[in-house]
């Protein structure tokens, strides 16, 4: 495996996952960089105990968890709950809304939903987080319910 290939393949994904966790572009960039520093340092000793994807996402999510200064929920007063959500809002506003909804979740829920949105299979998410597949399935179901409630309160998708 070449570092540059891994970076090209995973940097955007890692950034999105970190962004889902911290909801801050600069911090997400820093966490992404920290992730790939660890990838660089440990690449030679990577022995395929897990898939490359699992390995890199583990590093990224562990970096997020390590950054506990920022692992606080954003207070709900920051959510403009009284602003109606419009279906034809520009994608950036929808993205901001999504990040705000995710940021209101607990830390591990943020990680799980971010990994799910990155199309990782539930078995891989379980392997990254350290839960059984059954428990992961239950957690994902509950996170989806929470997000669904938030989205339904503010509008609906087409």
């Amino acid at each position: 495996m070449i570092f540059e290939d891994l970076y090209n393949q995973y940097s955007q994904k890692i950034f999105r996952v970190c962004m889902g966790y911290v909801n801050d572009h600069e911090k997400a960039r820093d966490l992404t960089q920290e992730t790939f520093i660890a990838v660089w340092q440990n690449l030679a000793s990577f022995r395929n105990e897990a898939s490359v994807s699992t390995w890199i996402f583990r590093i990224a999510t562990n970096n997020c968890l390590k950054d506990i200064r920022h692992s606080k929920k954003i207070p709900t007063t920051d959510m403009q709950a009284d602003v109606p959500y419009l279906e034809d809002e520009p994608i950036d506003h929808k993205l901001d809304f999504l990040y705000k909804c995710i940021s209101e979740l607990e830390e591990t829920d943020r990680i799980i939903i971010s990994l799910l949105l990155e199309d990782l299979p539930q078995s891989e998410i379980a392997s990254i987080v350290g839960l059984s597949e059954g428990n992961t399935r239950v957690k994902i179901h509950r996170i989806k319910e929470k997000l669904s409630t938030k989205f339904n309160q503010h509008g609906q998708f087409e």
Binding site: E4, R16, Q41, N63, L95, L117, I128
Partner: protein, 196 residues
């Protein structure tokens, strides 16, 4: 959740402004690692310079009293304790890659406690050696003059007492509080994985 695909579409629309290219990232990482190596090299250089200076004083200044030699030895030991601690801090790596989030949270908690205990121990031992070494070393220089002796020892004892009973406990209390808050935070996050 029926809207999951819609949410995925929004999620994947995210751009990553300012994210470097692969070549830039590799360059930045190389620079970062070179910077770390430079810090280690500088630390080693200044320590060796300090040791060389102290050694030359040891050989060029022919002390008559064993207390001076003992003092020098104790201060050498204190310096090596500090050096060892600083090098260990620079070399410390966090084993992120092979741990699940759950295991990593446990690891972080234990590491925080171990680090705090080590810092406490290293500080106590290093400070003890440095303080005793200084008191022993001073003696030969001021033994001939009672006023100088009283003044030097009084001043040194006041400084040592201030550091040991005032400055150190405050710094330790602050660090301990930060540690407890950090561990509490980690335990809270860890508990989330067990709640479903």
């Amino acid at each position: 959740m029926d809207n999951l695909n819609d949410i995925k579409q929004i999620w994947h629309s995210a751009k990553a402004p300012g994210l470097p290219t692969a070549a830039e990232a590799a360059g930045a990482i190389r620079k970062f690692r070179a910077g770390k190596r430079l810090k280690i090299a500088l630390l080693l250089f200044f320590t060796l310079a300090c040791v060389a200076t102290m050694t030359s004083v040891l050989f060029n200044y022919h002390s008559h009293l064993i207390s001076t030699r003992l003092g020098e030895t104790f201060m050498f030991i204190a310096m090596f304790i500090i050096l060892g601690h600083s090098l260990k801090a620079l070399y410390r790596t966090t084993a992120l890659s092979n741990m699940t989030n759950e295991t990593f949270l446990l690891y972080l908690k234990n590491e925080q406690r171990k680090l705090f205990q080590f810092q406490q121990r290293a500080q106590v031992i290093g400070f003890a050696f440095a303080a005793i070494g200084l008191l022993l070393y001073l003696y030969e220089g001021v033994a001939d003059n009672i006023s100088y002796l009283l003044f030097a020892y009084a001043g040194t004892m006041i400084w040592i007492s201030l550091m040991w009973f005032v400055v150190r406990p405050r710094a330790l209390k602050k660090k301990h509080l930060e540690l407890e808050q950090r561990i509490e935070r980690l335990e809270k996050i860890s508990a989330q994985l067990n709640n479903y």
